[in-house]
């Protein structure tokens, strides 16, 4: 244990020299520094914690399935024409990757950003730091976004490449390097990123409001899946409607679907971003009033 004089010396040494930077920093530079500090820890948690295993499993599942399909496909199997591959990928992307894997991957990551800390009883450390709660929301949200965008971008690109190159390698090379393949791939990538942005904000908010967020997540999943059956006005109260409008090859939604014109990109993209901003604003407002007792969590 230090003596009083040692403590005073240590305090003076620390106070006199460098740690004035916090006081001197402008608000923006302080907020940036704080956001980056939160990002660093949260990214580590998102990628290296035990909770990350499920995310890896979700993101890798289509790559694994398509690789198995490529390995065990008989050369004599009828794969259809090359042009049909884009329809096949649209179905895989729309039905499996976007509506299910990105949805549940985002649910897992973003709902745990705050709920996970409440369960681990460590959220109070953030609440006891001189950081605006809005900065905390932004830092955590960005960390979730980086994790999901990175992993699901690999899923999107990887599954497309495996599907195409495992069946028609030479045609696929031409398609991606000379034809429309690269543009299609970028469009799918853009939709994946927008999905992570939109679903991420929704699930961050859900994780703040519900002690057990699984049930609201499943209800939301049902709403998004049944979107094709909804009347035109209700379709627009969903994330999937705007994402579906942006995919380069539309997925067939079956004979019972209520068909509507896709929303143009210049409306879809800003609408999704605006929606995300509103949801994050609500999350920030909620967290400013949030109490921590951990009782019953």
């Amino acid at each position: 244990m230090s003596t009083t004089s040692e403590i005073r010396e240590q305090t003076a040494a620390v106070m006199n020299e460098p740690n004035v930077s916090r006081k001197q920093a402008s608000s923006w530079s302080l907020w940036t520094r704080q956001t980056l500090a939160i990002l660093r820890l949260e990214i580590r948690k998102n990628f290296l914690s035990r909770r990350a295993l499920l995310l890896y499993l979700i993101a890798a599942s289509p790559l694994g399935l398509l690789s198995l399909f490529a390995l065990f496909r008989m050369p004599t199997d009828d794969a259809g024409s090359f042009s049909e591959l884009s329809i096949a990928y649209a179905a895989i992307y729309g039905g499996l990757i976007l509506r299910t894997l990105v949805f549940f991957g985002c649910a897992w990551v973003f709902m745990n950003l705050f709920r996970g800390e409440v369960v681990d009883r460590s959220l109070h450390y953030y609440f006891l730091a001189p950081v605006r709660r809005e900065i905390l929301v932004v830092g955590k949200y960005l960390s979730g976004l980086i994790a999901t965008v990175l992993l699901f971008s690999i899923t999107t690109i990887g599954s497309m490449l495996i599907l195409y190159f495992s069946i028609y390698p030479s045609e696929s090379a031409r398609f991606f390097f000379e034809g429309a393949g690269a543009a299609q791939m970028l469009a799918y990538l853009g939709v994946t990123i927008l999905a992570c942005i939109g679903y991420g904000a929704v699930f961050l908010l859900v994780g703040l409001f519900f002690r057990n967020p699984i049930i609201p997540a499943l209800l939301l999943y049902g709403w998004e899946w049944l979107n094709f059956l909804l009347p035109p006005l209700l379709k627009k109260i969903s994330v999937i409607h705007y994402l579906q409008s942006l995919v380069p090859v539309p997925m067939s939604e079956g004979p019972f679907a209520v068909l509507v014109e896709p929303t143009p990109a210049w409306i879809s993209v800003p609408s999704l971003l605006l929606f995300t901003g509103v949801v994050l604003f609500l999350a920030s407002r909620h967290i400013r009033r949030m109490e921590i007792s951990y009782a019953g969590d």
Binding site: M1, S2, T4, E6, I7, R8, Q10, T11, A13, V14, M15, P18, N19, S21, R22, A25, L30, R33, Q34, A37, I38, R40, L41, K45, S49, R50, D120, R121, S122, H124, Y125, Y126, F127, L128, A129, P130, V131, R132, R133, R288, R289, E291, I292, S293, Y294
Partner: protein
């Protein structure tokens, strides 16, 4: 000053604290009361972890609703014994200093200074999950003082510490208070409150039943023996030695044979003797903690005697 103006907190229909009016001056102020009396609620209100149902709190002029300002001058060592998975003591403190906005170099210096203050510098790079309860307590204490706050709020900070560490930490608190800091400490260990506090706030069932300078508590404590549970490997040996102490009223071995209940009228002298016996007999001590029932009896005595202002 730290000011509570007519502060109440209800958890639904359950009372946390009711109509608390307090003005806390620099020095060590202890919040004293049995479990459930409202000590932690009061601390959580002061630090914004809970919002008052009614009333107003200011800490050196700042409302707890402004965390970005409040926690530049306040550190809180809570009772929540949890840490981020895989964190080392140093990494844990450094991370939260970075969230404050300090640079890497500042953070490293401030962390080292805080770890040295609580005598944890040597274990700084070990994982907190491998620490004993007392060491984890010291990590939390280091984290709460690392940014040099003017106000330090400590919820049962001596829990889990061995007698030697308790004495060292109490000395540190005294030094910080002498340097002009506000220390608000909750405790249900009356003789420790007596040793370190400048003033006490006595809580019972969510109400402040008495407040004032600490001297009045001392006489009351002396009237009542306190019971202490010592968890150790050879309680029989310890019991035999402690009975040589004239103020040991009773010693009883725990049913699981791994602990000893001791009643004493002179806790200060008892702890000194305990240290000596532990060293001489090379006992493996897991914990030393007062037993609540007897303390409740003391509180009952205190709150049903004079009431109001402590002498």
């Amino acid at each position: 000053m730290i000011v509570f103006e007519d502060v109440s907190k209800f958890y639904g229909e359950i009372l946390g604290v009711n109509r608390v009016n307090l003005q806390i001056a620099p020095g060590i102020t202890s919040l004293v009361g049995p479990n459930g009396s409202g000590k932690t609620t009061l601390m959580n209100l002061m630090t914004g972890l809970l919002k008052p149902t009614q009333g107003r709190i200011t800490v050196l002029g700042t409302s707890p609703d402004e965390p970005e300002t409040l926690f530049q001058k306040l550190g809180y060592c809570s009772q929540f014994d949890s840490f981020p998975r895989g964190a080392t003591a140093r990494g844990f403190i450094e991370f939260y200093l970075r969230v404050h906005g300090y640079t890497k170099q500042e953070t490293a210096q401030m962390t080292q200074a805080a770890l040295e203050r609580v005598s944890l510098a040597e274990a700084a790079d070990r994982k907190v999950s491998a620490f004993s309860k007392g060491m984890r307590q010291r990590v939390r204490l280091a984290q709460s003082i690392a940014h040099e706050p003017s106000v330090l709020v400590l919820d049962e900070p001596l829990n889990g510490l061995d007698p030697m560490a308790r004495a060292e930490i109490i000395r540190l608190f005294r030094e910080l208070a002498d340097a002009g800091m506000y220390l608000i400490i909750s405790s249900h260990i009356l003789h420790e409150v007596d040793m370190m506090s400048d003033s006490v706030v006595l809580l019972h069932n969510g109400y402040v039943v008495a407040e004032g300078e600490v001297h009045g508590v001392r006489d009351e404590i002396d009237e009542h023996p306190i019971q202490i549970l010592i968890r150790c490997d050879r309680p029989q040996v310890l019991a035999a030695r402690l009975f040589e102490h004239e103020h040991t009223v009773e010693a009883r071995i725990h049913n699981d044979r791994n602990g000893l209940f001791v009643k004493t009228r002179r806790p200060d002298e008892f702890y000194l003797l305990l240290n000596k016996v532990i060293t001489e007999q090379n006992l493996q001590v897991e914990s030393v903690a007062p037993v609540d029932d007897d303390l409740n009896a003391v509180y009952q005595y205190l709150i049903t005697s004079d009431g109001g202002q402590i002498r």
